[in-house]
């Protein structure tokens, strides 16, 4: 039997093969490389999975928040709007400022403002505002000047180093002549505010060393002068 090739005892051959090759192990450096490959091949953990329920909850939340935001926006306090409120043109501002400064010592200085107003009204064909803007003011004089393309009555008052002019003219040159249309404007040294009433335009121009006080001068004078006009024609407050 020994001379017949292929007549192996499988058990003995297996044992011999195992003894020859069975003890071979992958070297350590190969193990490390393979471990690194396995690590790199691991699928990245899912970052964020959104299920249908979560999606629905998120949608409800978004709709809810949007609704609240919309309601808050809708009910927010809206700053009061100022209808009939316009800006004086820059040319008119320049004219008013120039006359306010230049006419300071011109014209009548009659202390009877009512009589003065009557005379000026007759000359200009409109009602001229000729009341004192306040007890502290001193009347400096009056004149008829040209503002824009209109003749205007100009009454000048002083209070210390502060000056206040009251201009009365026809409202024709203004873009909006509706009753109680309100205009204002300013430059570096002057503050102006006026209104339209019965076809006339009445504009106050204030100046002084402290420009911040000019707004106060204007509003105080407006209060004082408003008594000159019938209450029914004044704007509702």
């Amino acid at each position: 039997m020994a001379e017949q090739p292929g007549q192996f005892n499988d058990k003995a051959l297996k044992a011999a093969v195992r003894a020859t090759w069975g003890e071979q192990r992958a070297p350590e450096n190969l193990r490390r490389s393979i471990a690194a490959i396995a690590l790199a091949a691991r699928p990245a953990p899912p970052r964020f999975r959104i299920g249908p329920r979560s999606l629905a909850a998120a949608a409800v939340l978004v709709v809810g928040i949007s609704s609240v935001v919309f309601q808050v926006y809708r009910l927010r306090p809206v700053p009061p709007q100022l209808p009939n409120h316009y800006q004086l043109s820059s040319s008119l501002v320049a004219d008013l400022a120039a006359k306010h400064d230049r006419d300071a010592y011109l014209g009548s200085t009659s202390m009877d403002l009512a009589q003065l107003g009557k005379e000026l009204s007759e000359k200009l064909g409109i009602t001229v505002l000729s009341a004192s803007p306040g007890p502290d003011y001193h009347f400096e004089g009056a004149s008829i000047s040209t503002i824009g393309n209109q003749q205007a009555a100009h009454l000048l008052f002083k209070r210390g180093s502060e000056s206040l002019s009251i201009f009365s003219m026809a409202a024709d040159q203004l873009p909006h002549t509706n009753q109680w249309a309100h205009y204002d404007g300013c430059d570096a040294k002057h503050t102006m505010a006026g209104f339209v009433q019965d076809g006339g335009f009445y504009c106050l121009t204030a100046s002084g060393p402290n420009s911040a006080r000019c707004n106060g001068m204007i509003s105080g004078a407006m209060q004082e002068l408003s008594s000159q006009f019938p209450a029914s024609t004044q704007p509702a407050k």
Binding site: Q4, A16, V17, R18, A19, G22, A26, P27, A38
Partner: protein, 179 residues
């Protein structure tokens, strides 16, 4: 049956020694064997989704990848002419892979003779023998791994035994490994 990524990793890494042994049989040297195993794992992890534990076990599947890789590399190398340095030729022994110079009557050295005979077998025979004897794969599993018919596996084993018998003929009269 599909397995999870963690299960696959464990299954695959458990076969590292087996793959290294097979690679060593095919490649013939440790360096190329390590390279083959590394490339095999790269491909295996890349193809993880395709692996089905039920249709084929992890061992035949991995061996198949390794075997295909080796086959492709061998074909590529065969197509490329290789230059051999004169120094390499000088370094080669005159009787490479010669049988161990042990007297026929020396039973104590039979294991060395067997090892020599096994290593003299062609790579495919070595691989088949290894998968059968050491890894204890069935004929069917070996056939799956090497992508050959079962009959080819059986014939390779038979021829491997024949070849070993021929190589060890001078020592057979000692009757150590024969029936």
């Amino acid at each position: 049956m599909k397995v999870s990524a963690e299960q696959f990793e464990k299954l695959a890494l458990d076969q590292m020694d087996m793959l290294y042994r097979v690679a060593h049989r095919l490649a013939g040297n440790a360096e190329e064997a390590a390279d083959l195993v590394q490339e095999t794992y790269l491909r295996a992890f890349k193809s993880r989704e395709k692996f089905d534990l039920k249709s084929v076990g992890i061992r035949p599947w991995l061996v198949r990848i390794l075997h295909n890789l080796h086959f492709t590399r061998s074909q590529r190398q065969r197509r490329q002419p290789m230059a051999t340095d004169a120094s390499d030729l000088d370094a080669m022994p005159t009787m490479q892979n010669a049988a161990p110079s042990i007297g026929p009557a020396d039973l104590d050295h039979m294991d060395q003779r067997m090892a020599w005979a096994l290593n003299e077998l062609p790579g495919e025979y070595q691989t088949t023998l290894l998968l059968w004897a050491v890894e204890e794969l069935s004929y069917k599993e070996i056939a799956d791994a090497l992508e050959v018919p079962v009959g080819t596996v059986m014939s390779r084993l038979h021829r491997a035994k024949q070849r070993i018998s021929q190589l060890l003929q001078p020592y057979f009269n000692k009757g150590m490994i024969l029936e």
